[in-house]
Each structure stands twice: as C-alpha cells, then as structure tokens.
Symmetry: C2
Subunit: 570 residues, 2 copies
C-alpha cells in the first residue's frame, strides 16, 4: 500500500511508500502516528500546517461486518489536541481498494477558492467547486453523484456550510451505501479543517482497484466466519437491529444518566416518547421510505441504522441515533421524535456534529436565549446557522464556545468538546473516559454503561474506563465499529487471527489491547506537545458540585484516580 | 496589617493576620502568592472557588507619585491562568489606609442576588444592589456617591453590565480622584469574576484609618525626595504630561508597529489625526471640561491622564489612552478622535477592556460583520453589547472567542488575551513579552519599545524582554505605575531605600528585580498547575507567517529562544 499526499497549496499529489513506523497501525492509531510525525503540535488547526488524514483501519476493505470504517483525523480546532473521528459508509472501503493506507490533505488552497478532489486509480484531479459553495451536504452529494456517477463503490467525503465557514463543531459527511451523506465523522471540528484547506468534497472512485491482499486467505475466511457467528449470536446484535442505538434511551434514563435540559436532570419525564421502542413504532406505523433497520455500509450484519420518515412517509433523516436523541431531545426538553429528526436533518445538512450542536442549544437555553421544549424556537436557532448570523456561527462553534460567550456556567464539555448522552455523574466510569481520553469528551472512546459495576461508586471506575478505552482505541485502529466489538469480544481469538491472516504478522493474543495502548500513548504524546497536562484531564468543575437528580450524585472520582488512568503511559 | 476575607456565600467577613509568606509581597506578587495558596489551579474562574483579590502594592498608601496603584487579581476567565490587573485611582490608597494588606472576595452569592460590599473602619456590610443591576459604571458610581458620600478619600471598585453578565473581557472600574470610575483594572476578565460573586461594587471608606506605619520616617522622606527629583527631571515625564500616553501613536507608527485594520498593517495612513499632538490640540481648542493633563490619583507628578471633551466642551471620557487609540482607532481604521472617545466611553460604561473589545471589533471586521473605518457600524456593534444580544455577548467576550466563533484566522491574542497596541512583528521584544508573560499578551508586562536595539532583529530580544518583564513585575509588586519607573530607574537607590525605610527590611540593592523574579516564578507555578506549558508561550501562528507592512516582517524569534526566557525559573 501507499500513502497519498495531496497538497492543496500547489494542487499536486504524490503517492509515497508507507514509512515503516506507520505499517503496524491503521485508523485511529495511524492518525496519532501521522500527527506526531507531520504536524507541529502548536500548529493552528485551521492553518496550512495541519494535515487532514483519512486512514482506513487495519482490517478495512474486506466487507467484514461493521469493520470498514474510515478514521478521519487531524489537530482538532475544537480541542486543540489530537482528533480522530470515525464513520461508516463507503469511504474506508474505497480508500483501501485504491491501495492507500492513508490519504493526507496538506497545505491549503488560496483563501476563497474551493475544490473537489477526485481520487481514482487514474490519479488525483482538482475540479473547481465554486458551484457547490454554500450548499448543504445533501444537495452537494446529489450534485456530485450527477457529476461523478452513482456507482455503488464511489465514496464521497464532503462538508456543508459549517465546514466552509470553519465552524469548530463541523464534521465531515461520508456517503452511505445508498449514496446519502449521512455518515458523519462528526466530532472535533474536522469539517472546519477540510474547509480551511478549501476542499468541499473528496470523491474516492475505487473502480479498477483491488481488495487489499491477504497473507493467508483460508485462515482469514475462517476467522471471518467465527467472527460473524459470534456477532450474530450476541443478544445485543438483535437489540440494535430492532431498536437501533435508540435502545439506549430507556436504559440510560433508568440509570438516571439521560441528559435532560442541559444536563440539569438525569431522567426525562417524556423518555418513553423518544425511546427506541417509540422510534420503531413511529417508523413501522408510517408507510413509505422509513426503515427501522438499515446498514450504513455494505456487509454489516447489525444494521443499527434506520431511516426516519415524516408522517407522509418521506425520509427525513438516516440514521436517528441515541446521541442525537439525547442531546437534541431530552437535553433540550423536546419529546417529539419528528422534531428531533428535523433538527438532526438540519445538522447533517449543515455538516455539524449533533452532539456539540445539541449541547450548544442546551447551553443557549440555560442562557435564556430560548425556552427548553419549544420546538419552533430550537428550529429557529438552527435556521440562524443557515443564515450565517453571528449567533449561528457561535452555535455552530459548539457548546464550549457558546457557553463561554453567553456566560453560562453549566457547560457540558471536556477539552472543549461536548459531553455525549451519558451524564458522567450517573455513569461515572464514562465520566473517567470523558476526562482522560486524549480525544476530549467522547462516549465512543470508552463507554462503561454495560460494565457490571455500581456506576455511582467513584472508587471502582478507573479500571473499568481504562479497559474500555484501550479496547475502543484498538477497535478504532482496526476500523471496527463499537458494536462489532460484541462479536470480537465474544470470540477473542478472532482479532489476532484476522491480523495474522491479513498481514502475516506474528501478533500476540492481546494485540487488540496492545494496539489500543500504543494508540493512546501516541495520542497523549501529541497532546502533551500541544500543551495538554493533567489539569485538562478533568470534568467541568460544576459537575463536581452540582448534584444530578434523581440520584443527587456529583462526579467525585478523585483527581488522583484520574491521573492514575494513564500513569503507566507517562 | 491584616487580610480581610469577605465570604459572599455566607455574607460574612473576617480580618485575619497576614501569613508570614505573604509579608514580603504586595500587589502583583501577592496576587500570585495568594492564588497559589488559596485557589485550586483547575478551579472554574467563574465558580465559587476562585478568589478575587485586591492587593495594594508594597509602597501604596503614602501618596508617592504614581505609586498608589491597586492590583486586582484572580484566576482569569479569559486566559485560565494567573491574572493581575492594576489601576490607579483611589482604591489602593484606601485599602492601605484601612490597614489591609489584601482584601479577598471568596465564595459567591446566590445566583441572581447582587450586593454592594461596604468596607470601612467599622467593618464590612452587605447592602442590596438590586437597584444598580444593569446600570453602567458611570451611573452606578453616581448613585453610590449619593448613597455613601463623596468624600475624596472614599474609593469605589465596581462593574458594569459586562461584569454582571460575566463577559470575559469585563474589567473592574475604580474611581479616580474626582470620583469618576475611569480607572479600569481592565484586563483578563476580572470584572466577570466580580460579577460571578454577585458583587456590583465595593466601597472602601478609609475614614478613621491611617497611613501605613514607617519604620524610618526620615529615611523614607529622603528617598521620596530623591525619587521625585529624578522623576521630574526625566524628559519622558514632561512628554507624558503634555501628550499623555497618546504620544506613542507617532512613535509606534514610525516603527511600523501601530496595529491597523486588525493587525494587517503596521502603519496607519491617518496616524497624524489620532496622534498625541492631535489629541492635545483637540482638547485645547475646545473650551469646557477638557484637560490635556490630569492625575488619576492624588499626588501624581506625571499626570499622563486627560479629559477629552466633545465639540461642546462636555467631558466625554477620561482618560483616552494610547492603547485605546491603537485598538479602537487605527486597528479599526477609524481616524476620528471623537469617535474613538465615544467608543472608549461606552467600553468604560459597560465595564469592558478597550484592548480586548477593540481587538474583537477588528476581528469582527475581518469576518465581514462590518467595514473598517465606518464609525456608525462600530458604534452599532457596541450598542449590541448594551442590548445584550448574542453578538454583543460574543464581542464582550474578547477577541479570541470572537475570532474563534467567527472563523477568523487573524486573531491577535496570546493565552486568550488580546495583543495590545504594539505589533509584535515590528517590536519583537514586546512580542517575546506577549508570548512568555504568565499574564497573556500585555504590554505593561514588559514593553521594549524604548530599548536601544534593532526591534526587527529576532536574535537580540530575549534579554531585552526578560529585563523589562522582571522590572515591571517588580514595579507591579510595589504599586508603581509604568511611568513611575522613569524616576525609579533614574535613581536606582530609591526603591531599596523606600522599602528599607517603610518596612525595616534589609533588602538588597537589586530588590526590584528580585521581587519581579519571585513574582514571575510564583505566577508560572500557578499557571503550570493550571495546565500551561511551553506550548502556550507562543504568538499566534499566523504572525509567524504573515508579513506585516511596511517592514514585511514576521515574528521569527525562535521557539527555543522563547523557552529560554524563563528557563532558570523552571
């Protein structure tokens, strides 16, 4: 495989050999390695020295269920530290089939010029994107399909108006198996990095490419089979196919950790109305384009995604996920799934992270800009982002900036990134993850809600979070989604077997955790050079003081315990 | 002397003995010591654990010319680090005469309740301030004069609407010798800290108090005399009396370092129109309340302040200073002193730092929100702050936040605090100060424009900045203003003599620099614990890339050199 370097300053591209130290990594781990090697840690994330990295995970390219994810990374304009955000869709598979271990966007185009970068087996082309400027992600993707074809293998990564304006909560949308740009690498402002480089979209056309080579095809096939059997046998696989991630609403509400009205409560009185069960009923009750289960990438056996229709049966958004329901539903006092779906659609269309935007809207309500639970007001605020008002730009900059400007104390963010839909006072292990992940607050960095511990006991959370973080960093390096982990965890011999048969590497049985460990070590090294210290591995102070109903719990994992999490990585 | 602790949570106060380690410090040095001893470094600056500190300098209370300054400090909501901002006016003298080495505001009042804290020889009283909420600083001061008397010794420290709303560029206004709240401890958001505690104003009534005791009155008198002679003999004293700090306009413009249109140019074509000479002519040409020279505190021999009248002779603002002319004049493309005076008045009335607000307006123009040089638009944006719109709150949060939200690259700020009116690409020693001062960008932390070096040579600036920073930290610890330094520097035996005769301490001849060194050591220790590293001791990256006309210079002092500045303080 090769590394494709695309220089926007000169509009040129070159394929280079993979540096030896990059070989054993992929996805999230490779992002960290590349940042350390190529980006000055004090670089302006939106300046020419940042590098936007597209790195498929180590196992991407083979249609292994839920394991074709693309990791996108760079120095985060939201946190100022390392950032990897991964997504489903076609992008990872397409890049792997083009033979690239990583694609790097370097430099930046002259300010005000916009480009579509077209990557195919024939090379790299830079096409003017002036006609796409200002378009939402859906319209942009439609135009690109017309222009570049709608072959099911072509993948597009693109930004909306938020990324163009370099708003710091902007993500990068990736087309799903239907060509819909619904798979956002949403977190950490990577869409702003893409916008800063003058790139509206990248089209990856892998036709003429090949599946990555296998060192031992028979062994790979056997391992794949064992994995799929384990995955299909896992009860959660069925749960996620039935209810999607929205299954979490009732579970988190029962734990008293469902963010409600800007994290002022842990239970929402209308949780039932926005639950996975309610969402499934809504979809099934309406004829038309809706679907309670839907795969974001070809070959996925879980199909946790969905398509939410409006009352007339027209598709509004796909997927409506738990995090969005939490942050844009209960967190805003909104109990109408149709409204939440609309907010989700607009966030996707603008190319914004629903978590950070939802948290920003919650903070704005706390600041008195609107009243929790008022759908028209919430939608009007999102309209301000379309209208590019100062308030719109502020909201699109995420919860931390919004809260700081509006004088709000209750800002749910760590390292500048909004907390996702598990209140860390009720699920304290996840609070440890939020505090100590090099990524900033992020449930996918190490969710602990399924751990068999007392989630309110502050003394037992460190090992729980650490284990979850190491595994997730490992999965993110493989290109596996969080739910693929059900299968991999049930058949722990599979990951080493897949890596051995794919690459011929003599990896140990604990390779998943070793990859995770190396990834987090590299990430912390980058963050340290970028100016992060133990002082940043903390939850917001108000969460240590303000009790969360109904448990009236505060976050009381001690700072010393937080500093223990990665003490051995120094 | 004693330490007065005022607890807003319980609305109680207690005078305590001065801890021994606090004794040898005052002003800025004492602020750093107290922060290290009393404020958790990771505390939320606007939460109950921050402490707002009022600490007169070591030589305050004796009407030594230009040496009765008050240092106000706390953990900065703008930078997240140590913050000391000092001001003239009456506050320092009053606190010293009440016998307090420091006054600490701790805890915070229940949200939404507002108080005037009244401190006198009879003790501390908490009076409701509900009728003052929302009032500007001028109206508030007038009401307080009515209520508490207008004796020339009574000092008031107060906040405007900006501080009430906890906007992060809010300062604390102190009344001058005329009772006008014109002396802002403007920088770093300390007004927001005061607002977070629910304190609208503190009235210091020193009647019944005493001048601090002198260990050797005769020796003190002799040292005072030597100081005044040296000060009056210094040519700059006359310059500042004649032109005020606005004398700097032509000088800085000549050096190519006058911030112009959001730091995109170093010379302003209309610099003459906003120069100290033009300002003096404007004031002299108008009958009425104007004055080209005015003392901010009783006993000052320099009188660098002024009173700027409108065309009808009515006082608009006092003083109009160079930094304001630079940031709200040339930096905004505005060349009309009357407009600049109005902007200054509104900033003072809102209780905002003119430097950070001016820089924020410059950034907003870069973002396309208005057109440089259009007075009506600039004034309309300031009106948004009065109107408490989201954009108003953003602007009142300072340049860094404004620029981040608006997607602007050219943000002139270090550690979140706006750069003052010396472009560091043209005056590189001051750039070293901006980068490495624990306070964030701040010319008063170590201005180098008068140093006899090539200001464009990157290799010679480190010792120049270091010397200036150490001396200024020393002066700030004494309570001496930057211009008092002309006298102290011309008669270097005076500072040790004053300290020996005031306190009976056997200080060495280099006590000024020793105090500065200890101050910066303490400040860096606090910042380190708060999460600052060498990565934060940098200018914004764009200043290292974007050449500044007319010299086409970039900031090219090497990171290694920047890290040398305080290497011996570890």
């Amino acid at each position: 495989m090769q590394v494709l370097r695309i220089d926007l300053t000169t509009r040129s591209a070159a394929a280079e050999p993979v540096p030896p130290t990059w070989e054993p990594l992929g996805g999230r781990g490779l992002v960290a390695r590349i940042l350390l090697d190529r980006v000055p840690p004090t670089a302006d994330p939106l300046g020419p020295h940042n590098v936007l990295i597209f790195a498929p995970g180590l196992l991407v390219g083979h249609r292994l269920s839920s394991t074709d994810r693309i990791s996108i990374g760079g120095k985060s304009p939201l946190t100022g530290g390392v950032k990897e955000s991964n997504a489903g869709g076609r992008t990872g598979w397409a890049i792997a089939h083009l033979g690239y271990k990583a694609v790097l966007l370097e430099g930046r185009a002259p300010q005000g010029t916009w480009w579509v970068v077209h990557v195919s087996a024939q090379g790299v082309r830079f096409d003017p994107a002036d006609d796409l400027v200002g378009l939402g992600t859906y319209a942009t993707a439609a135009r690109l399909r017309e222009r570049y074809g709608d072959d099911a293998r072509i993948a597009v990564a693109l930004i909306g108006p938020a990324g163009e304006r370099r708003l710091r909560a902007a993500g990068i949308a990736n087309t799903d198996q239907d060509g819909v740009p619904s798979r956002l690498a949403a977190r950490g402002g990577l869409g702003a990095v893409m916008g800063s480089k003058g790139v509206k979209a990248i089209v990856f056309d892998p036709r003429g490419g090949h599946e990555p080579p296998l060192a031992d095809p028979a062994a790979f096939k056997a391992a794949r089979k064992a994995y799929i059997q384990a995955l299909l046998a896992h009860p959660q696989t069925k749960t996620y196919e039935t209810f999607g991630t929205a299954a979490m609403v009732n579970m988190c509400n029962a734990f008293g950790g469902l963010p409600t009205r800007n994290f002022s409560q842990g239970q929402f009185e209308a949780a039932e109305r926005i639950s996975g069960e309610a969402l499934r009923q809504l979809i099934l009750a309406r004829d038309g384009e809706g679907a309670p289960a839907h795969a974001c990438m070809a070959g996925c056996s879980i199909r946790c995604s969905n398509i939410v229709p409006d009352p007339q049966g027209r598709a509004v958004v796909s997927p409506l996920e738990y995090e969005t329901i939490g942050l844009m539903g209960s967190n805003l006092g909104l109990d109408d799934l149709d409204v939440i779906a609309q907010l989700n659609y607009h966030a996707n269309d603008l190319g914004l992270d629903t978590i950070d935007l939802g948290a920003a809207l919650g903070v704005a309500a706390d600041a008195g800009l609107w009243t929790f639970g008022t759908a028209t007001q919430a939608l009007a605020l999102v309209q301000q982002i379309y209208d590019d008002t100062a308030l719109g730009r502020l909201l699109g900059s995420g919860a931390a900036l919004t809260g700081r400007a509006l004088g709000v104390e209750r800002i749910p963010a760590v390292k500048g990134q909004a907390i996702s839909a598990y209140d860390p006072r009720a699920i304290k292990g996840t609070g440890v993850t939020y505090a100590t992940s090099p990524q900033g607050a992020d449930h996918t960095a190490g969710l602990t809600i399924r751990a068999q511990v007392d989630h309110l006991d502050p003394t037992v959370q460190v090992p729980v979070s650490r284990t979850a973080q190491l595994k997730m960093a490992g999965y993110d390096t493989l290109g596996a989604c969080i739910f693929a982990g059900f299968g991999y965890a049930a058949a722990p011999e599979v990951v080493p077997a897949l890596l051995r048969s794919r690459y011929g590497w003599p990896v140990g049985d604990d390779v998943l955790v070793q990859l995770g460990r190396e990834t987090i070590r590299l990430e912390r090294a980058f963050n340290r050079a970028a100016g992060f210290t133990a002082a940043h591995d903390r939850l917001p102070e108000w969460m240590t003081r303000e009790p969360l109903p109904p448990h009236e719990a505060v976050f009381d994992v001690s700072p010393a315990d937080l500093d223990r999490v990665w003490a051995d990585l120094a």
